[in-house]
Symmetry: D2
Subunit: 344 residues, 4 copies
Amino acid sequence: MNEKLSFACDYAKGAHPNIMKRLAETNMMKTAGYGLDEISESARNRIRKACGCEKAAVEFLVGGTQTNAVMIGAMLRSYQGVIAAETGHISVHEAGAIEAGGHKVLALPHRSGKISAEDVEKYLEDYYSDESHEHMVMPGMVYLSHPTEYGTLYTGEELLALRKTCDKYRISLYIDGARLAYALSSPANDVTLPLLAQVCDAFYIGGTKCGALFGEAVVVPDPDRIPHLFTIIKQHGALLAKGRLLGIQFDELFRDDLYMKIGEAAVRAADRIRKALRQKGYRLCFGSPTNQIFCIVENEDLKRLREKVDCEFWEKYDDGHTVIRFATDWGTTESETTALVDLL
Amino acid sequence: MNEKLSFACDYAKGAHPNIMKRLAETNMMKTAGYGLDEISESARNRIRKACGCEKAAVEFLVGGTQTNAVMIGAMLRSYQGVIAAETGHISVHEAGAIEAGGHKVLALPHRSGKISAEDVEKYLEDYYSDESHEHMVMPGMVYLSHPTEYGTLYTGEELLALRKTCDKYRISLYIDGARLAYALSSPANDVTLPLLAQVCDAFYIGGTKCGALFGEAVVVPDPDRIPHLFTIIKQHGALLAKGRLLGIQFDELFRDDLYMKIGEAAVRAADRIRKALRQKGYRLCFGSPTNQIFCIVENEDLKRLREKVDCEFWEKYDDGHTVIRFATDWGTTESETTALVDLL
Amino acid sequence: MNEKLSFACDYAKGAHPNIMKRLAETNMMKTAGYGLDEISESARNRIRKACGCEKAAVEFLVGGTQTNAVMIGAMLRSYQGVIAAETGHISVHEAGAIEAGGHKVLALPHRSGKISAEDVEKYLEDYYSDESHEHMVMPGMVYLSHPTEYGTLYTGEELLALRKTCDKYRISLYIDGARLAYALSSPANDVTLPLLAQVCDAFYIGGTKCGALFGEAVVVPDPDRIPHLFTIIKQHGALLAKGRLLGIQFDELFRDDLYMKIGEAAVRAADRIRKALRQKGYRLCFGSPTNQIFCIVENEDLKRLREKVDCEFWEKYDDGHTVIRFATDWGTTESETTALVDLL
Amino acid sequence: MNEKLSFACDYAKGAHPNIMKRLAETNMMKTAGYGLDEISESARNRIRKACGCEKAAVEFLVGGTQTNAVMIGAMLRSYQGVIAAETGHISVHEAGAIEAGGHKVLALPHRSGKISAEDVEKYLEDYYSDESHEHMVMPGMVYLSHPTEYGTLYTGEELLALRKTCDKYRISLYIDGARLAYALSSPANDVTLPLLAQVCDAFYIGGTKCGALFGEAVVVPDPDRIPHLFTIIKQHGALLAKGRLLGIQFDELFRDDLYMKIGEAAVRAADRIRKALRQKGYRLCFGSPTNQIFCIVENEDLKRLREKVDCEFWEKYDDGHTVIRFATDWGTTESETTALVDLL
């Protein structure tokens, strides 16, 4: 149906074959709804184990914007806001889902999609030293994404420093792992699931972009931190009736450590594409070491390129140039990559 | 895994085989996200045709509570509320999702889960004749479910009368069709999809409980009625990245009129169960002619019954009795039904 | 300007002369804004003393609906609702202000405007014993009004019992004292300010209807219960720039115990009117012993009555009769009352 | 009580003597509540006349944050956001009141507190040309303040250009006139009330900072633009029971054109202070020609200064300097100004 080469996004295909197989096998089983079934419980246990955190609460949701809205709503008090990079997904591309829940996104300038402990510390210091701060939105948590929207990575050291700042000001730390598999498969990454469980009040392990049909697994290392999460999920319209569909997918993704390596093909392909782009004189941006590739193209070139390959308009660079994005995924094949490299 | 007989709900299984087959076949296709793909467009066209409404907007969402929250939010102005039966799903079992969107549910007494044009008319008349009505929540729409939460059905005539009342007071009519397939397959039903398209400002065709893995298809007969619905869906965290998963399911459900007859086995089984219950002296409630069966049992009997079959606690009837529910579904087999009948 | 006799409401006049005098005297003073001035602090201390609660937080707001929305928003978590009588002001006459804040009002049937500890206990017991309760709105607090919207009174014993129920289920108790002065001046009342401070997590002392131009004083006996209340007030648009205007009014209302007796004239007048109504054969309702008088009149009589005196339409009683309300206030004179009694 | 010189803000005093006199005279009158009285109607008519707009809806609210939250909520659909300068009051100092209503503030960089038609046009053009714009918050209106938070002024021409941009993209224009009297009394101003009525979908005439005890008058030139505004006000807890208190104040402010000249003393005093500051070598900021004076002081100087005069910390300039604000008001006397000038 769609013969044109496509590197427009990492959610264009279905799911990893193991998932499709298990869905077919279990199709006529009758199980309890809402994630109360045994397969979901098995998936939870596998995730707990992978995170080195036996007592963690694990909840499965359907998509990323939904997960962010639910979890930020669950972690903030009604009068608090969430600190995020101005380029964070919640700042820009969620159609105001966080504000619809009553919370301001407190946007900080970014460096390649990242914010640092120093940035956050300065913001909090300025807030509390402002004589009018009680008339301003109280910062209640920090939102990060790993990898970021620009495909860049935090180091473990950076996350530990951010945790320290959050502790100092008694605010929460939450990490959006929509593309976490592509971090875990990148040689440049030193952030592990147990480290995330150590530094975060909550984080999510992305499924939709990482081999599942859909689904994100929220991990709350200390469940007392967020009581009544089930009801909060329901209130947001985010509770899947046939919850086992999510359980099945994560049970497969965490069987035999599949999730730890599912992103490898994508990162390898992205590295090849980055190399080819550099060789052909394209300017790369952000230096992202994961499955997204950003480069600057002349508008004329872009038009020509788009006739042969789907890629994503990222943003206007200047009047004559555009930043575009190629994305690889867990299923990208060598032949697809070769085809792209050839036409660049 | 689950050997015990289960008639607890109609969302305990996976999906109709046609859907599973198509999901497998299309798994490695790359398509545009967010429902902008060709399969979703094909599904939309099939639904438009089945509704006799070429120009209708059709959007696919994941679940029922989500769909209700999105659509009620989309149809009301910020200061309006939604009229519903006190037993309506939005009144009771959505954890306050409607109120979380800022809207009051204006609950009316029900008769077997239904409210009538007269009930609504009286409510509106009283509202507008109250000298303080500008201090009260302005009713902006009516919410019905068909079948209702009690498995009962509106007649076409009743819906036309409700539409007339809504027109008189210039408010909207919205119908929740979570179990619509079981109405369409019931001999007692005279409400068709074209009639729904005629009387409603919006309604949804349920997939989750009617043969799909998940998914509900919203139909807006006059799209100008609800501009920017795509953004509203995104804002609610309800936009599925791999939208084609919904498209595929509804494309199959509306291929060769499958949806029109998919509920037949369920209704037939329910009729058999109702007959058996009556014969064995159980008291049935609500007279529901669809796939749900409600009856009153002694608490002692209930304990015994639940050892052999999963059924749902519905509500306390009195200190010694409980109302319980059995639900059949599109995949209920004759042998399952026989097994249940035998142990009653 | 308005020569016709008026008993339509208790907010038709300005303020007690002491307040007007103090406002005039202090008019050209320059003080800090937002209630941070010395007069507001003096008022707070007087209220703390009257409540026998030195450590209480006291905040001044402008009106009743505003106060209810702020305090209920401050006391509930995002997924909780507030239990109230179906006749409670928040249930009916606040245009959905509570729902606009995201919270459901969980309405219970009333007896003369009141709900009992038994009613609340039963509701909570049913909630927690419902197998689907996690799909329903979690009750987080109880809202009462004293006097109620029907002018009736809780006894101290009833409030202590309600407190006990709230403790058992770990939910909060909040009392709306919009007309509290008329309770404190009623011989039928045994609820004191210290008792309110003992049983409530928060309550408010009404000014608008009790001698002030406007203003309600919120008392939070244990301030740790509601941190950041100042910011919450600001977020609701409820922070008065010239906060001292509220401080001045409550400083006067609590000077020399004025508030304890300011309602006496109103209650005396109401008693006279009730006696006259009874003598002339009118049917009284609710047996309210405060400043509101409810009676049933024939619609024909009502038309005639309203030509001579403003009174409030309360509700339709039946096709031929209407419930009306007369309200007296702190400034009602004997001659006004005589005039009303004469024309009944 | 407060002997220290104070130029900290323009809401430190009570009201203009005419207002205090009228409040005293009318105190024991009984009138209808909620602004339905004759004095409020007279005030509305005076404002309509001053705006040259007979058919305008005029509503009175209590304070600025409240008015902004009500009106922005009234003018936007649930999925829209409001464009404002990043320094706009709604962006910074309203504790998230706009987000609490579900709307994102779309902050643009400012020039001396202002945003231009070009800025807004570029933002809208970029929004609509972004291929993902349906995933982003749809801009629904523009918020300006006149004078701005920095005391600067728009020209009539600039407002007409902004209107044109709003028309082009079919979005609304709203102006916050919290300090409007100080614009109307500034020789640098060419924006009149009729011009505001011509360019705005809604605006408000500030009372709190301009001679009233409290109160802001909202003007909606075309009332059909915002139906059910009364109910929206009530829903926000912003409806004053004794509405005539607002009516009285604005009836006096608009009697004999008092409002047009009430700011003159303040602007004259501010000009004297600006001149004195310049002479003494202080660096002024923003070039504001109204009642606010901003200058940069060394932190050491500030400490000394604040012992003798209350002024407001505005923001940190650099590690050694601070931006401070002096504000004059309608009641500032020559002797106060002389005292300040002498100690600079």
